[in-house]
């Protein structure tokens, strides 16, 4: 019977199935960070259990780490609770071990979803889990990758398995060339706008079509990263030459004859031609414009040349109330052109858009220009120490600094504001991150999700601009 990519990944990791379909799924890679692991290790300790296979664990501190004061060492972490979480992870790594651990201040430290692929610790055909919903990012490598809760973190540590049930199959086809200035971020925002924030709930989503095939691994990671914002725990893309090219030579990727064997297997990691999907959605890439979110859910999104929608035109009362509440929170009036919205801060970073390609794209927009005087803070936070190093080799840090951006140390930073990088109440931000929920970037903060080039252009102009008309 023809199989989808998800079917293949599922079958190749199935250890045991109960009568009701509840399954034990074997986990190859377990990514661990400081905010969702402490309670799991404590649980192991209390029960007197040991990790099943520490070699599956790749760990780092990223969620609450400051992006400044690195010269002060751990004392630079001013928040005592954040420091406790970082120290607890250090202690747990010493006690339990890992394949590799990139602690705070290590030059290879970074956002867990950036460093996994960067190190070749994410490989096609793997199951990848992490106590973080954006684990879907790794699906770009033809992995079954999804976020789990802390109890599941403990369960995977203790048993190397996840108790789960098979999801349904959805394929989202994006076909055709992208216009200049339209990026992977706009593709995924357009998808979320189409199917809604719960559109993918219960599904494993495969992103396919000529547009997806033409994306770099960075772009595919951006798309898979936000599968969860459409409700899908797992997003994935079939493996191909682009995948292999990205992985070849990376630290934990196989070498020599083993590489050839691996690639031969990885070539099978795609949906069979006649595979059946429970739902298929198709988008025409030529119709996708640069996108900007206007509300407090990623599905509240329009194209940059549109206007803030009018709740009075919404017939569904529950949706209308949601829109009204969002507009009030965001301090926006219906029918305001998106390009009239002025911003206070800019954040370029996060597991969605902090890779070298993102920084290159943003730098190309700001080169030789200045951040608008009305913009209080424009931040660039590279996804990892290695991304930062690469960018500095290419002189991108100078481009950003000369334009008035701050060039920071790596981490999750203002995507979720667990470290000191936050919005103040009422501040409006053009952000390359993934969630525009109320208070996400700081209590009362107002987030507009955009691509790196759109964020960069907004920083220069002081308001949103249509990057397609940028010269």
């Amino acid at each position: 019977m023809p199989q989808t990519l998800y079917d293949k990944l599922w079958d190749s990791h199935l250890v045991h199935t109960e009568d009701d379909g509840t399954a034990l799924l074997y986990i190859d890679r377990h990514l661990v960070h400081e905010v969702t692991s402490a309670q799991a290790y404590e649980g192991l300790r209390t029960a007197g259990r040991k990790p099943w296979r520490v070699e599956s664990v790749v760990a780092t501190a990223d969620h609450n780490t400051p992006t400044t004061n690195w010269d002060e060492g751990l004392a630079g972490v001013r928040d005592p609770f954040a420091r406790l979480q970082i120290e607890t992870l250090d202690a747990n790594m010493r006690e339990f071990g890992a394949k590799v651990y990139f602690p705070y201040l290590d030059k290879r430290q970074g956002i867990v979803h950036v460093i996994g692929p960067e190190q070749g610790a994410t490989l096609p055909g793997m199951t990848v889990v992490c106590g973080d919903s954006h684990t879907s990012t790794h699906g770009a490598f033809a992995c079954l990758a999804h976020g789990i809760g802390t109890s599941e973190v403990e369960h995977v540590l203790a048993t190397q398995c996840l108790v789960t049930k098979k999801m349904k199959n959805m394929r989202i086809n994006v076909e055709g060339p992208l216009a200049r200035g339209v990026t992977a971020k706009d593709v995924v925002l357009a998808i979320i706008g189409r199917i809604g924030t719960a559109g993918g709930t219960g599904y494993a989503v495969e992103f396919a079509g000529s547009t997806i095939r033409a994306l770099s691994m960075e772009g595919r990671m951006t798309v898979c990263n936000m599968a969860i914002e459409a409700g899908a725990r797992a997003g994935m893309v079939a493996a191909d030459e682009v995948t292999f090219e990205y992985l070849k030579g990376r630290k934990f990727a196989p070498k020599g004859a083993e590489w050839d064997h691996a690639v031969a297997y990885w070539r099978t990691l795609k949906s069979d031609p006649d595979a059946k999907f429970d739902r298929e959605v198709t988008l025409d890439a030529r119709e996708i414009r640069p996108h900007v979110t206007w509300g407090t859910s990623p599905e509240m999104v329009v194209a940059v040349d549109d206007a803030v929608p009018d709740p009075d035109k919404e017939k569904d009362s529950q949706r209308r109330e949601g829109m009204e509440r969002a507009l009030e929170y965001m301090g926006l009036k219906p029918r305001t052109p998106i390009t009239d919205i002025r911003i206070d801060k800019v954040f370029i970073g996060s597991c969605t858009n902090s890779r070298i390609e993102d920084l290159r794209a943003a730098a190309s927009v700001v080169k030789g220009r200045r951040v608008a005087s009305s913009v209080k803070l424009a931040l660039v936070v590279p996804g990892s120490g290695l991304v930062k190093e690469q960018a500095e080799r290419e002189g991108l840090d100078r481009v950003f600094r000369d334009a008035g951006f701050e060039w920071r140390e790596p981490g999750c930073s203002m995507c979720l504001g667990m470290n000191p990088d936050r919005l103040s109440a009422g501040e409006r931000c053009a952000s390359t991150s993934n969630r525009n929920f109320e208070g996400r970037q700081g209590p009362g903060g107002r987030t507009h999700l955009v691509s790196p080039v759109m964020a960069a252009a907004a920083a220069i102009a002081g308001h949103f601009v249509d990057i397609r008309r940028w010269s």
Partner: protein, 197 residues
């Protein structure tokens, strides 16, 4: 894990769709290495509004939260069910849930119940119309009913999850019954695809 059998509780209506886990517990309350102590973080931003449902005296002591569709979307933080439990909730009823929140709930003896949109509408109506509106959630019978039985609705649940909740079972212990099978699977995989190890 605490058992869940029958819950007779006061219901508090939270009439918003897409309630995300950043609202259930904002990030400034995640800075802990424990599983408890998150009650004050529950809906912390919304609770600043004196009119917010949890601030209304009539809902004091509620153990059942009534929500709208896609409840618990967003971040995977298990602090969301931990905060709900710490505050006193044992059950949330909604037309649909986000997958990760749904799974996390079961791991903590906290029951997410899915009813149809119209059933949930009806419960919102009852809840708003009658102060002190209570429901009886019976996991064994898979029913949600008013205390006088004038309303009764049936819900579905995975048999395995039901079994674990009813008995308060430690899932890790259950899985480790299959340790031999896991080891065998692992050995086969390692032989076939050594590059994953």
């Amino acid at each position: 894990m605490d058992k869940f059998t029958v819950l007779n509780g006061l219901v508090v209506p939270l009439d918003r769709a897409n309630v995300d886990t950043d609202q259930i517990i904002p990030k400034q309350y995640l800075a802990s290495i424990k599983r408890t102590g998150f009650a004050q973080g529950l809906f912390a931003e919304w609770r600043k509004d004196p009119q917010f449902v949890l601030n209304q005296p009539r809902y004091k002591g509620a153990t059942i939260l009534l929500g709208r569709k896609n409840f618990g979307c967003g971040s995977s933080r298990e602090h969301a069910p931990w905060a709900l439990i710490d505050y006193g909730f044992r059950c949330v009823i909604a037309p649909s849930f986000a997958d990760i929140f749904f799974t996390n709930s079961f791991k903590n003896g906290f029951l997410p119940v899915v009813l149809t949109e119209s059933e949930v509408d009806r419960l919102f109506h009852e809840c708003n119309a009658f102060a002190g509106f209570r429901l009886v959630v019976d996991l064994e019978r898979q029913t949600v009913a008013s205390t006088d039985q004038s309303l009764s609705m049936r819900f579905d649940i995975d048999p395995f999850r039901k079994y674990c909740l009813l008995n308060g079972l430690d899932e890790i212990g259950l899985t480790l019954r299959h340790a031999q099978k896991i080891s065998e699977f692992e050995a086969r995989r390692k032989a076939q695809h050594p590059w994953y190890f």
